[in-house]
């Protein structure tokens, strides 16, 4: 009986403590003027790692915004908070990579949590319904890295996207192939596509096909696979049988690793392998693949090797690295989420108010200074696409992302055709 009594007392104490903590922290938040911002990423499920990194990137940006960081050369970093000291408070949500969950979480963030804007959502298929909800409820949705071109072709008024689209990258790919053919006599005439059968992969493949068609390249292999595949033998076999000169790949995370390893197992490589925003861009995957990852290429919005082009990033990246476990630098995707948060703060500051119409006007009419973006600027077109979004074509050489195209930003000669597996 005594033990039971002690147990109950302890439970009562615990509840009392929790109640007091909630009361005190609630009071602390209420005492300051805050702007609630919702984040919506896949924190669990197949894209959990990428989603968690994106969330950490937003937290990093909020740390820069909320505190005075005179050492960081980014607009608003020197001041404490926005609009004379208002702080951003983040409310995190997990959409698990599922569009229906993304939609209901966006509703909860807006209706229940009362967020001012939402930042997210990594997967294009989740960004679509979530931003649709935000539009209907007249809230801002700032998207960092979802790359489906269709997102900014919906005539939404409150949706803004920072990253380049699959369409932009596809055009860059064929331009690069044209350059190789003209200057290096690469003789690239045929293209194969390998992509995950999702909103992202399918869109990327469609844009790739369209761009290849316009450039006069013949698409001779079109291979889709289900994400999270445990075996890509038949897919790679199909590519090998068609033997295209170039391959455009849209394989995320572990699928990218599997694709590369299966090609090695089958002892086949195209002359050029170009990747959309995929596992190629993940520095951890590049490290895991070691020399097997070398000579693949892809569009890259950021890599630590770009430090001299974007000197402002280093100080912010230092904060980001303390928020990730294991500690990693920014990658092309998550840096866009940090930029999205910084642009939102900048827009409020320029508007001088949190009033939606005024902030929306700034979003639509301003050329934002963005030292963390490769383009240095952010300008939104009607529909919400960042017109200044750009990426550099890189090639992994010795585990390092080397800039190979456009020529004015390149620092290394591309290795074409790719060095075969036996000669590495």
């Amino acid at each position: 009986m005594k033990r039971l009594f002690i147990g109950r007392t302890m439970v009562a104490k615990l509840f009392l403590t929790l109640f007091l903590v909630a009361l005190l922290t609630g009071g602390a938040v209420a005492a300051e003027k805050v702007i609630k911002i919702g984040t919506l990423f896949p924190l669990t499920g197949p894209c959990a790692l990428a989603g968690q990194r994106c969330q950490s990137a937003v937290e990093t940006a909020v740390e820069v915004i909320n505190n005075s960081h005179p050492e960081i050369k980014v607009p608003g970093a020197a001041a404490e908070g926005v609009l004379g000291g208002m702080k951003f408070v983040l409310v995190h949500a997990d959409h698990q990579g599922k569009p229906d969950v993304a939609k209901s979480e966006a509703e909860r963030l807006i209706d229940q949590e009362g967020v001012y804007a939402i930042i997210g959502s990594y997967n294009s298929s989740c960004t679509k319904p979530a931003s649709f909800v935000a539009e209907r409820k007249q809230k801002l949705f700032v998207c960092g890295c979802s790359s489906s071109a269709a997102l900014t072709k919906r005539d939404l008024n409150r949706f803004f996207r920072l990253a380049p689209t699959d369409e932009t990258e596809s055009l860059e790919f064929v331009e690069f192939i044209k350059y190789l053919n003209e200057t290096k006599s690469a003789g690239i005439e045929t293209v194969g596509l390998i992509y995950e059968n999702t909103e992202f992969g399918k869109h990327a493949a469609e844009e790739g096909k369209a761009a290849a068609g316009v450039a006069g390249l013949k698409v001779i292999a079109d291979v889709a696979f289900n994400p999270g595949a445990t075996n890509l033998n038949s897919e790679v076999q199909t590519l090998k049988a068609a033997d295209p000169d170039a391959v455009f790949g849209a394989c995320l995370g572990g699928d990218y690793t599997l694709w590369v390893r299966t090609m090695k197992q089958m002892d086949w490589l195209p002359d050029v392998a170009l990747n959309y925003c995929t596992g190629y861009q993940d520095p951890i995957i590049a490290k895991q693949l070691e020399s097997d990852g070398d000579f693949f290429m892809g569009g890259t919005g950021y890599s630590p090797e770009f430090a001299e082009l974007m000197p402002a990033v280093a100080a912010v990246e230092k904060i980001y690295m303390t928020k990730t476990d294991p500690s990693v630098p920014f990658d092309s995707d998550c840096i866009q989420e940090a930029i999205a948060t910084l642009i939102l703060a900048q827009a409020m500051e320029l508007a001088g108010t949190t009033d939606y119409d005024a902030v929306l006007k700034v979003f639509n009419e301003t050329e934002f200074d963005s030292p963390m973006s490769l383009g240095g600027m952010v300008v939104f077109a009607p529909g919400g696409q960042n017109l200044k979004a750009m990426s550099i074509l890189t090639q992994l050489q010795g585990g390092s992302y080397k800039k190979i195209y456009p020529l004015d930003l390149a620092d290394t000669e591309p290795v074409v055709p790719m060095t075969d597996w036996g000669s590495r």
Binding site: T44, P99, K103, E107
Partner: protein, 331 residues
């Protein structure tokens, strides 16, 4: 013949419906998120009840119901997105098509028994998922995204308020549960129970078990497809991974088993426990990352099933029995 137990069950059912109908009017729902959770409870309760027809009453464990659910979703979505119609005729065509597909697929599958039947239905989900992934006419892997259409019952679409969806889900639940209640009282309902308890014995008494099982599957698929149509309208989107997946199939099964297999109230009770748990755990701790919400969610399901394999209905029955025994003891 109606018994006192039947009448009492019907009265209880209409009390539940009346309370659910009154809740928004009384203004006691604290937020639209609470409305959202109640909508999901009614939707998933209806889905589980649809599955209960074949899985619970007839005893045939199907993991293929997401296919029928998906066909219903695509029916409504294609009516709106592809043809620019109201979703109503699409939902009806989808439901009839689902019933037809169920009969065609189940014919050979019913030749298998027990685990083999369950495995065959697993495979059907994968086949349909792949098929819809590459079928461009239905949107392929990109799926179908709803355009902005006028709000109201004609388009079964609301954006700013959830009241329409709330009453839509309530009507759906009344329809699905009403059909099952009717079935329970009919001879067909007893045939299902007879087949579940012993197919050979039922056949020896003159029950055509194949026809009974096919009819149950068609009815179950029809109801599941209607739920699918609601799901597409509610989420403004449909793609193969959302609807035709093993994950979705598991929800049909899990909710029913958690609530109580082969019982009228089980699916609703299962949904009333599982859905708030899923939604609120995600809302409160999902943002922490690392899937803590999913771990707690899974742990509670394991605990309930270990404690009472007959589900929540089993727990309630035990409580009622103990209370009766205590009363009798007092006398």
């Amino acid at each position: 013949m109606l018994t006192r137990k039947h009448i009492s069950k019907d009265v209880k059912w209409w009390i539940v419906v009346a309370v659910l109908a009154a809740l928004p009017l009384m203004g006691v729902l604290p937020s639209s998120y609470t409305e959202h959770v109640l909508i999901l409870i009614m939707l998933y309760g209806s889905m589980a009840q649809a599955w209960n027809v074949i899985g619970g009453y007839c005893g045939q464990t199907s993991f293929g119901h997401s296919v029928f659910f998906g066909i219903g979703s695509y029916g409504a979505a294609m009516a709106v997105v592809t043809f620019g119609f109201s979703p109503w005729p699409g939902a009806m065509v989808g439901a009839l098509l689902a019933a037809g597909v169920a009969v065609v697929l189940s014919g050979p599958c019913f030749k298998l028994k027990g685990h083999y039947f369950a495995i065959a239905t697993f495979a059907i989900v994968e086949i349909f998922n792949r098929l819809f992934m590459v079928w461009d006419w239905v949107g392929g892997a990109l799926g179908l995204d709803y355009p902005l259409v006028e709000e109201g019952w004609m388009n079964f679409m609301w954006y700013d308020s959830k009241k329409g969806y709330y009453y839509g889900a309530l009507i759906l639940m009344i329809f699905v549960f009403g059909v099952v209640r009717k079935m329970e009282k009919m001879r067909f309902g007893y045939y299902l129970l007879a087949v579940r308890e012993g197919q050979e014995t039922a056949e020896s008494l003159g029950v055509n078990s194949t026809r009974v099982k096919l009819s149950a599957m068609a009815l179950s698929a029809f109801l599941a497809a209607i739920c699918g149509a609601f799901y597409a309208q509610y989420n403004f989107r449909v793609d193969p991974s959302m609807v035709m997946s093993l994950d979705m199939s598991m929800k049909f099964v899990l909710i029913t088993i958690l609530g109580g297999l082969g019982t009228f109230w089980g699916p609703l009770l299962g949904a009333a426990v599982l859905i708030p748990l899923q939604e609120y755990s995600r809302a409160f701790i999902g943002g922490m990352g690392g899937g803590v919400d999913l771990m707690i969610f899974g742990l509670i399901i394991v605990l309930v099933m270990v404690k009472q394999p007959r589900g929540i209905m089993g727990i309630l029955d035990d409580i009622a029995m103990k209370s009766r025994e205590k009363k009798e003891g007092d006398h």
